[in-house]
């Protein structure tokens, strides 16, 4: 009886990884919209029947936290998407591994630059500029003027109508913070954010959630990457997309291989595949309107034309570094505090 129960208990303790056996595996963290994540996985598996992809969607902040927490014992092989800063930070922490893809030659300069900055620990997969989307119905109802510049967002009529993500959990919001600091200077940027705080109804967790709330009319305006706003208006919501007149920052959505991954070979197959023009052409189909990093990829006509947008010279090296990031976040916590004026 005892040996039997011991055997059963031992079996119960060790038996579960059984489910793990089988074809080659790839554990993927996807930090973009869940629809494109699923689309990529489905298409990849259709073309590579020997590789089984396990995908989990995490915002880029969560993904970085998870990869860092697992640093001594990684459970993830590849991290696709999400703003470049946490990818650069992971590269600086040497949590991600060096890989020079044969696809690099086909990529846009900004995507290759991302690889150069990180010592080939990460690479750009798409890019998008920061802006906002506002709900035209609500603005009409309230008789508000369309805000065209950062300064317009301080308008008192917008009280309680703005949503933006919490930079502690969202890469989008951190890019906004860093953009404002580079655009205005640090102290002025925090003055501005304090003013903005009076109008902010809620700091959300996920970066694209604000414009989704705006689309549904739960809020008036969401500060997000413009491609996130575009996908809402393409879906039929009354959302208008704005590029701020003073200039704006942008993200280089990135991809990194995890150092010490369990399935590095499969991860490289996905890595190379997702950089091809064919794979990147899937993005508009899935409602993702970023600028693709492969030069040969078709750019959808709905993608905001980056040549018409005033872009700042975003310093990815400085604002992607851990110390600067920690400093800015600590100051944001202390002065803005994630507390909306409710």
């Amino acid at each position: 009886m005892n040996i039997k129960s011991a055997a059963i208990a031992a079996g119960a303790v060790m038996g579960m990884p059984v489910l793990a056996a089988g074809a080659a595996e790839l554990n993927l963290i996807c930090s973009a919209d869940v629809v494109i994540c699923e689309k990529l996985v489905t298409e990849f598996e259709a073309g590579h029947s020997d590789i089984n992809v396990n995908m989990v969607r995490l915002s880029s902040g969560e993904a970085y936290a998870k990869i860092r927490a697992e640093g001594r014992n990684p459970q993830t092989d590849l991290w696709w998407g999400g703003t470049g800063d946490p990818h650069l930070q992971a590269a600086a922490d040497e949590l991600t591994s060096v890989y020079e893809s044969p696809m690099l030659a086909e990529l846009q300069d900004w995507a290759v630059e991302q690889a150069n900055v990180s010592g080939n620990r990460t690479v750009g997969v798409y890019s998008g500029a920061l802006g906002w989307g506002y709900n035209t119905q609500i603005f009409e109802q309230k008789g508000l003027e369309a805000p065209a510049c950062w300064a317009d967002l301080l308008n008192e009529g917008l009280k309680g109508e703005i949503q933006i993500a919490d930079p502690n959990s969202s890469g989008t919001a951190y890019t906004t913070l860093a953009t404002l600091v580079q655009l205005m200077g640090e102290d002025e940027a925090f003055e501005y954010l304090k003013g903005l705080n009076a109008n902010v109804a809620q700091y959300t967790k996920s970066g694209s959630a604000p414009v989704k709330a705006a689309a549904r009319g739960e809020t008036g305006l969401g500060i997000v990457f413009m491609h996130d706003a575009v996908s809402q208006s393409v879906e039929g919501f009354p959302i208008a997309v704005v590029a701020p007149c003073e200039g704006t920052g942008y993200e280089v959505g990135s991809m990194s291989l995890i150092e010490g991954a369990q399935n590095p070979d499969e991860a490289k197959v996905f890595y190379d595949w997702v950089l091809t023009a064919d794979a990147q052409n899937l993005m508009p189909e899935a409602g993702s309107f970023q600028i693709p990093s492969n030069k040969a990829a078709k750019v959808s006509d709905k993608v905001p034309d980056i040549s018409q947008i005033k872009l700042i010279d975003y310093d990815f090296a400085e604002y992607g570094s851990a110390d600067r990031r920690k400093e800015l976040l600590a100051r944001w916590d202390a002065e803005i505090g994630g507390r909306a004026a409710e």
Binding site: I3, P17, L19, N27, E38, V56, S170
Partner: protein, 731 residues
């Protein structure tokens, strides 16, 4: 050869085989894939314990020596008290050494800077594998067999082994994780000791500020506390109203009122919050209706504490109803009749006799509401606004870009302090008071009807609230069938197709996005349910049928694990089981273990209650006829406990499907659970698919519970089935 030696032979054989054959360390691809057999000789990490020791892992020598000592005792010493004492010592030393070496030496050498300074460099080691697990079971059995030889508990080895194994499991899967939260708080990223994080967080005004009393903002601890008090008050009052209506009025729909009690068990926890947004959000149906009729703009009031409160009251009122209905029914009518005979009016009787007799039930319902609200994670996540409550703050301090484990630990300690105090208060309050009014004397008669001045308001409140609940649930079902909630209300099956589509082109394929997490959830729930029931039943049997020293402490500790909020469990599991000695993150096993130890107390309660109905003379008869206690349990007690077993099975199955707070930390790319997946959908604003998925889950659970009801329903003639202890739902 006597029984003492025979069972000792078995475990010794197992231990020696494990040391010689089974890989000592964990195998990444999984033990039962048996891929490791191919590389067994080439790869030193796969070697069994003895060979690991021979190639320089000196930390394993004590284990081998202790096993050899046990072997020597078996061969040279006669069984008896002396050998028993030695065996207990060997077992205890073995377990202690396993824990010490496992915790000190990690994947990259010493885990703590201090040890490296004192002992020099050491090679890293992977996590415990098959060999180490068998050896720890061996040492545990050695302790219990030794105790049996010394004559403890009449030398009943089965009972002693059960107790020892349960203590080992609870220690490893409840206490070790909780402890590791607190060590994590004091450990730096690279493993050195630091108090900086704790000092920074423990006095943080964002946690403790009482500014809201003077017009500012309050700390998250106090906000959670106030919220819990408000929720508990409201759910207790509403629950009482429901219980009174169900038992003491001529309200026509009493039967359907009881259906409400099933709701909290089958509802995924954030669904109510979601439905509230669709109903009362700024663009919600009700908000818009009010606007078009009266022109009043309600705005965004639902986001924040008010909204969370409303969602929690909706979710937890049925639980409080379930607790109170028994109490309200239990008040003996003869007391009330006596009061009326003494010329008290109905109102006076109600106020002076009935209500005071319900006091313990009310306190119980209040405390349960308090604990539920404190531990709630789903509703605050969906409705939280920017402020958040303790459970969500813990979540974000781990997954947010701050990644501050010491903050999580401090917040978890605060939350644990609140819930454990409530739990202990409940225990203290309920013991030491007697409100028994159901005595052996026949008390005929029925309960007095409520006095009219109470009855009408109570019926009004109950009807309104029931209507609200029905609307909320109708919303949940309806939301899955409209194209875009709040914008385009064309009916569509699109969301169901997206979530649960299948295709027959090129062979049958599950194309829906939900299938993956759906099957994982079902598999894990199906594996966890029998294990939960088994562990719960065994524990229940020990508690109600055996006497052993420290039994009250044992019982209290087991029940206490229920008061630990899911978020705390989740975070403690990733902190404890991500690194050696026990490494389970990213596997299905961690989810199963988490469910088993979280839901076990329900099984315990169920089986204790059921066993109280079985006369002890049955066991005695079996024991007198020469069966051992194991055989008695298997052949006599278990068959009589069928309804309780079924209830425990169904309950743990359903709980495994609906829980979110612990699960959200433990899911991985490969093993994603339905609730975690739905939360992701909600975050992304894909309400349609989220609602469709939730509706399917609710249907699955109704089917399971309904099937179970039909199965045990037939037994009702002879014996009342034990209702699942639903008052513990959704912590």
């Amino acid at each position: 050869m006597n029984a003492d030696n025979r069972r000792l032979d078995w475990i010794l054989g197992g231990a020696i085989l494990a040391l010689l054959i089974l890989p000592w360390y964990r195998i990444r691809a999984g033990f039962f894939s048996f891929d490791w057999l191919g590389d067994f000789f080439a790869e030193p990490d796969l070697w069994p314990g003895l060979f690991q020791a021979l190639i320089g892992r000196w930390q394993l020598w004590p284990i081998i020596l202790l096993t050899a000592a046990a072997l020597y005792l078996r061969l040279r010493a006669p069984s008896g008290a002396g050998r028993g004492r030695a065996m207990v010592w060997i077992g205890a030393l073995g377990l202690i050494w396993l824990a010490v070496e496992g915790l000190s030496v990690g994947t990259r050498g010493w885990n703590w800077g201090l040890l490296e300074a004192s002992f020099g460099e050491v090679d890293g080691q992977p996590a415990f594998g098959a060999g180490a697990v068998v050896l720890s079971l061996f040492f545990t059995c050695l302790i219990s067999f030794g105790a049996a030889e010394r004559g403890a508990l009449k030398g009943d080895a089965f009972v002693l082994t059960s107790i020892a194994l349960l203590i080992l499991l609870v220690g490893a899967f409840v206490f070790y994780p909780i402890l590791s939260i607190f060590t994590g708080a004091f450990q730096d990223f690279d493993g050195s000791f630091t108090t900086e994080g704790v000092r920074r967080n423990i006095a943080d005004p964002k946690i403790w500020s009482l500014g809201c009393l003077t017009g500012g903002a309050c700390g998250v601890a106090w906000r959670t506390f106030f919220l819990a008090i408000c929720t508990a008050t409201a759910t207790t009052l509403l629950g009482l109203a429901f219980a009174l209506v169900a038992t003491r009025t001529r309200f026509p729909f009493k039967k359907s009122l009881r259906l409400l009690t099933v709701l909290p068990i089958i509802t995924p926890p954030f669904v109510v919050g979601l439905a509230l947004i669709m109903l009362l959000g700024r663009q919600g149906t009700l908000t818009q209706a009010i606007y078009s009729v009266t022109g009043i703009e309600l705005g965004r009031w639902i986001y924040g504490l008010t909204g969370i409160w409303l969602a929690q009251v909706l979710s937890f009122t049925p639980i409080s109803f379930l607790v109170l209905i028994g109490v309200v029914e239990g008040v003996s009518p003869s007391m009330e009749e006596a009061s009326q005979t003494l010329r008290a009016g109905r109102w006076r009787t109600f106020r002076k006799v009935s209500l005071p007799l319900m006091a313990p039930g009310l306190a119980n319902a209040f405390l349960i509401g308090f604990i539920e609200s404190m531990a709630d994670f789903g509703n605050p996540l969906v409705l939280g606004g920017s402020g958040g409550v303790l459970s969500t703050e813990i979540f974000f301090s781990v997954v947010g870009a701050q990644n501050d484990p010491s903050r999580a630990a401090v917040l978890a300690a605060v939350l644990l302090f609140f819930t454990l105090s409530a739990f202990i208060a409940q225990r203290v309050w309920l013991s030491g008071r007697s409100f028994a009014t159901v005595g052996g004397k026949g008390d005929g008669g029925t309960h007095a009807q409520l006095p009219a001045r109470v009855a009408w308001p109570v019926i009004g409140v109950v009807s309104a609230w029931s209507l609200f609940t029905v609307i909320v649930y109708a919303m949940i079902l309806f939301g899955g069938f409209v194209k875009l909630w709040g914008l385009d209300h064309t009916l569509t099956l699109e969301h169901y197709v997206r979530a649960f589509g299948v295709t027959f082109e090129g062979g049958f394929r599950w194309t829906g996005v939900a299938w993956n997490s759906f099957w994982t959830t079902m598999t894990i729930a199906l594996i966890a349910a029998p294990l939960t029931a088994a562990v719960g039943l065994l524990t229940g049997w020990l508690i109600s049928r055996q006497t052993f020293p420290g039994k009250t402490v044992f019982e209290f500790v087991l029940m206490m694990s229920f008061a630990i909020p899911g978020t705390v469990i989740g975070i403690s599991y990733i902190m404890a089981f991500n690194l050696p000695p026990i490494q389970m993150t990213g596997t299905a096993l961690i989810l199963i273990v988490c469910f088993v130890f979280r839901n076990m107390p329900v099984g315990v309660r169920g089986s204790v209650a059921a066993m109280a109905q079985l006369d002890g003379s049955l066991d005695e008869a079996s024991l007198t006829l020469g069966a051992g206690s194991g055989r008695t349990l298997r052949r006599v007690i278990l068959p009589l406990l069928r309804p309780a077993i079924m209830a425990a099975l169904v309950y743990s199955f359903v709980r495994a499907i609906t829980s979110i707070s612990a699960v959200i930390f433990l899911v991985s790319a490969k093993y994603n659970m339905a609730t975690a997946y739905i939360v992701g959908l909600v975050e992304n604003g894909q309400y349609g698919v989220a609602i469709a998925y939730s509706s399917v889950l609710i249907l699955v659970m109704i089917t399971v519970i309904g099937g179970f009801q039909m199965l045990v329903g037939e037994r009702r003639l002879r014996r009342r089935p034990v209702p699942p202890a639903a008052k513990e739902a959704t912590v």
